[in-house]
Amino acid sequence: MSTADANAHGAVPDEAVGLDVQDHVDVAHYETIGEPYVDNAKMSARNVNVYYADKQAIMDVSLDIGENEVLSMIGPSGCGKSTFLRSLNRMNDIIPICEVKGDIRLDGEDIYGSDQDTVLLRARVGMVFQKPNPFPKTIYENVAYGPRIHGLAHSKAEMDEIVETSLRRASLWDEVKDVLEQPGTGLSGGQQQRLCIARAIAVSPEVILMDEPCSALDPIATARIEELIDELKERFTIAIVTHSMQQAARVSQRTAYFHLGKLIEVGDTKQIFTMPRHELTENYITGRFG
């Protein structure tokens, strides 16, 4: 179904296309298998290339994230999935040697356009990081910080409400409602990560990017975060990078498999995990490498 489609987006067909090579993809000629595009795209990336100085980390990736869906990105270490995720809210800008080429749009707006403000972009596309990184301030301050700098609350009462709703949505409220003035860094790892999620949703972003949010957490805390992601997709569009295939299978509707900077295969999560079409994908999800 997608060959013609993918060709139209820049991949050059060739007799030498190395799709049947198991651990190696031809750099110049490859095409993404599956359907990278959706009808109700919230964010869409086209022909994205990312370079760290001379090294190319992302090669010609085109991918859509649909409205209110959870898209998971999987792949072996160093495959570029985190780099791609961080391009979506321009977090890569803070790395001086990093250069992003291509076209990434949020609601059809070019986020790398000259008139795009990164502050506004990051308010609309929030992020949760691999390691829980609450500010060394009180729990209340952690959640209130975003709304405060963006001027979202006009009174103390409004701010209290934002803090409470955000903590409730991050299912942390019941645990911290009596200790709001305690430092956020004093919470357990899982609680800290939920605090970071609360902090991200306090500014009401449209998209939340999660970079291996559970990699530093134990299975119980992980289960809570996964439940949370399921609830959050009602309101937000979520892109999550994960090392855990079970996690990808549990939380996401669509899954994208990256390998050495290339998007190899993308499709419905169920299909990717039950009937992978590309050999690399199959090898990875069956645990043969990666």
Partner: protein, 428 residues
């Protein structure tokens, strides 16, 4: 295979002894080094404290002062202005003669007069101006002893020394012994030392002027060096592009930290005094010069502590949409603050102990008045120590050590403050 393993064990065992011996030797050297350091520190402190402690007491002699209007040259109806001109010196001299009527020769009289400090004259004058009814009366007063007499009373000079080698002669010692036996000598805490400026007379010299000078100088240094240093560090670390120019700036800042301090003094002399014509000997210029000297320290330590802030905090702040400035001021600086403060206080402590550049801008002048502001001529503690150490009078030896004690006290306070601030900011 098992035979080989057995052989290895033996080899290792054989080498073990050697290894342990080496470890013991190393530990021994380490302990010796620490011990040596402690011994030197102890000798230094003991020397300073034992020499300096006497300076905190002053000796006074009780003299029956006869306020004879004839000798004073004024009578009880005199105005304050006339009293100021009155001859209190003559009064003290005649009172001393009255106490020791056996003294007749001119030389002995001179020696007798030298028991009392010339400051006594002004002390008496102030008392009489306060209460003119004293004129015509005879009253006992505690008068400040001359530094040499005080030195004998404090036991710093002994009779064992041949008379020609000491300033306090045998006959003066006899008088002082008489006074002591009659209970007419006393020691008290030397408040003058903390209330007065410098003086030619050791018993009248105090460190107040130098203390205040140091304080004003440090205030100027801090107000200039801290904000400039921190902002320079923030800019270089967070905003400046990495290119050849910033590399050059960085190398220069690092080199600046190694420039001998007297060079900064020369710069201050040439630029601030000769070109900008700022007042000489003033804490303002001293503070500017010292802030130039402290800037590299503050910039380097501030940059290091800003660098040490975990990038995850920056990412977190940027991730919720904070701008670069907000990230730096709301998150990076508060976390880096303990390190910045520690570095700044260490820089300030360096500045407090610095004397060479201040000599160049004239803060070495003999200044008696306590400075009232940053443009008044003044000196600073280390320069005061230098001046006193240079003075030939015996009384200044103890003053030198006492001033060192005060300076070290200040350094300890500043370092304690650095530790306190560090702990306090780190809890959060």
């Amino acid at each position: 295979m098992s035979k080989d393993a057995f052989k290895n064990t033996e080899l290792i065992q054989a080498s073990l002894k050697k290894r342990y011996a080496r470890e013991r030797r190393f530990q021994l050297f380490g302990k010796l080094a620490v011990l040596l350091g402690f011994v030197f520190l102890f000798i230094l402190l003991f020397d300073i404290v034992s020499k300096g402690t006497p300076a905190f007491t002053q000796k006074q002699l009780q003299i029956a002062v006869d306020f004879d209007p004839d000798k004073l040259g004024v009578d009880a109806s005199a105005s304050a202005e006339q009293l100021r001109q009155a001859n209190f010196n003559a009064v003290i001299k005649s009172s001393l003669r009255d106490m020791f009527p056996e003294v007749t020769s001119r030389g002995d009289k001179k020696r007798l007069y030298r028991l009392v400090s010339i400051g006594a004259e002004y002390a008496l004058r102030d008392r009489v101006i306060e209460d003119p009814s004293l004129i015509g009366q005879r009253k006992d007063f505690w008068l400040l002893a001359h530094s040499e007499a005080a030195g004998y009373l404090k036991g710093q000079i002994s009779r064992e020394l041949p008379e020609v080698e000491r300033k306090v002669k045998d006959i003066q010692m006899d008088w002082l012994d008489q006074l002591r036996d009659k209970g007419l000598t006393k020691s008290s805490f030397n408040t003058l030392f903390f209330l007065e400026g410098d003086s030619r007379e050791p018993e009248l010299a105090g460190i107040r002027a130098a203390l205040q000078g140091s304080f004003f100088t440090l205030v100027v240094t801090f107000l200039l060096a801290f904000p400039i240093g921190v902002f320079a560090a923030v800019y270089l670390e967070e905003f400046a592009p990495r290119n050849r120019i910033t590399d050059l700036i960085e190398i220069n800042i690092n080199n600046l930290a190694a420039v001998p301090s007297i060079v900064f003094g020369l710069l201050g002399l040439a630029v601030f005094i000769n070109f900008f014509e700022l007042p000489r000997s003033a804490p303002l210029v001293g503070g500017i010069v010292l802030s130039l000297m402290t800037l590299p320290t503050i910039i380097i330590t501030s940059r290091a502590s800003i660098q040490a802030v975990s990038p995850s905090i920056r990412e977190a702040a940027l991730g919720v949409g904070a701008s670069k400035i907000q990230t730096v001021f709301h998150h990076v600086l508060p976390v880096a603050m303990p390190g910045i403060l520690t570095g700044s206080i260490i820089g300030m402590a360096q500045a407090l102990g610095e004397s060479a550049p201040l000599l160049m801008i004239g803060m070495v002048a003999f200044i008696m008045e306590v400075p009232g502001g940053v443009t008044d001529p003044s000196t600073v503690l280390p320069v005061q120590i230098f001046l006193w150490a240079d003075s030939p009078e015996r009384g200044f030896t103890e003053k030198t050590s006492a001033a060192i004690m005060v300076l070290m006290g200040f350094l300890i306070v500043m370092n304690a403050l650095a530790i306190y601030l560090r702990r306090r900011f780190e809890v959060k």
